[in-house]
Symmetry: C2
Subunit: 184 residues, 2 copies
C-alpha cells in the first residue's frame, strides 16, 4: 500500500468533508493546520498529483477558472485510516531566534534586542488571532472539541513564547526592549 506522508495524509483528511480543489485545500490546510504543520501551495499541488496517480484521490471535471475538484476514493479512505491510527512521532521545532540567542555573544546587544523585538509582534498578533477564534468557537453549539483543543495549544504556546520574550528583558537586555515596545 502507498505510504503516506503526514502532509498528503492531511489532504486526504480534509477531503473526507467533500471534494475540494487544490486552492481550496491550500487555504483550508493553511488555516486549519498551518500553524503547527508548515506547508506550501507547491507541495499541495504536487501531493495531489501523486495521490491521483496512486488512485487515492480522483480529479473531477474542470470548472470555472480551471478549478479542478478532487475527491477521495475508497483506497484513499483506507490509506488515511491506516495512517491516522499510527502513533504520531515527536514534534520537530526549528527556531532560528533561539540560534541567535545561543550565539548571542557574537552579536551586538542592540541587534539581538531588535531581533527579539521584531519577533514579539508576530507572536502577539497570532495570540490575538487565537483569542478571537476562541471566543467564536465557544459561542458555537455544539463546540468542536478537537478544534478547541488545537486552538488551546496555540494559545498556551504563544503565551509561553511571549512571556519568555518579556523575561529576556530582565535577564540580559535591561530596560531596552520594554522601552522600545512603547514606540511605534
Amino acid at each position: 500500500m502507498y505510504k503516506l506522508n503526514a502532509t498528503a495524509a492531511s489532504l486526504l483528511g480534509f477531503l473526507h468533508e467533500g471534494p475540494m480543489s487544490g486552492w481550496d485545500l491550500v487555504t483550508k490546510a493553511q488555516t486549519v493546520i498551518g500553524d503547527f504543520w508548515s506547508l506550501t501551495p507547491s507541495q499541495i499541488y504536487r501531493e495531489l498529483s501523486s495521490l491521483a496517480t496512486a488512485g487515492l484521490v480522483q480529479a473531477g471535471e474542470r470548472e470555472q477558472r480551471d478549478r479542478r475538484p478532487f475527491s477521495i476514493t475508497a483506497e484513499g479512505r483506507a490509506a488515511f485510516a491506516a495512517w491516522i491510527i499510527q502513533e504520531p512521532s515527536e514534534e520537530t521545532i526549528r527556531f532560528p531566534l533561539l540560534l541567535s540567542v545561543s550565539f548571542g555573544k557574537y552579536l551586538p546587544k542592540e541587534k539581538l534586542i531588535s531581533f527579539v523585538r521584531s519577533q514579539r509582534s508576530g507572536h502577539q498578533q497570532r495570540l490575538d488571532g487565537y483569542r478571537q477564534q476562541h471566543s467564536k468557537l465557544i459561542a458555537q453549539h455544539p463546540t468542536d472539541p478537537y478544534a478547541l483543543a488545537i486552538l488551546d495549544f496555540g494559545l498556551r504556546y504563544e503565551e509561553a513564547v511571549l512571556s519568555w520574550i518579556d523575561s529576556l528583558t530582565e535577564s540580559f537586555s535591561t530596560a531596552e526592549i520594554r522601552a522600545a515596545e512603547n514606540e511605534p
Copy 2:
C-alpha cells in the same frame, strides 16, 4: 560569498571555541541546540565537507580513531559574522500529535488518549532534564545569560505542552488519561 544555511552556520559558531572533530560537533550540537534545531550526524559530516570545500573550515591531521579536527578559517569567521547579523526567520513547528488531534474525529477515543499519554512522558522527562540543567547553571558564576535564556525557553515550552496535555483530560477524555498516568 558562500551562502550559509543555519545548520552549517551553527557548526561554524561552535568552531569559534576551538578545533573540533565531526563527532565532537555532533554531540555539541545535539546537546546545545538539538532541542530546538534538529540535526543528524549525517548532516553534520556532509556540511563539514562542503564547508571544507568552500574553505570556511580546514581539516587537520588524523588523530587516534581517525578523528579529524576541523578548525574555522578567517573566511569561515567572516561568513559566520555575516550570517549571525541577519534577522532570524520565524520558527517552524511540525507537531504530529496536533494532526492526530485535528483529525480526532476519525480516531477511536482510546487511541487518541493513548497517543497523548505516551507523548506526555517524553515531555515530562525533558522538563525534568531542563530543571536539573537549570539548577546547575545558576549555581555557576558567572552564569552564561544566553545559555540560561534558551534553557528558560525550554522550561516554559515544556510546561506549556504538559499543561495543555493535562487540560485535554477535562475537554474530551474525562478521567481516562489521569487514571492511566498512575499506572506503570
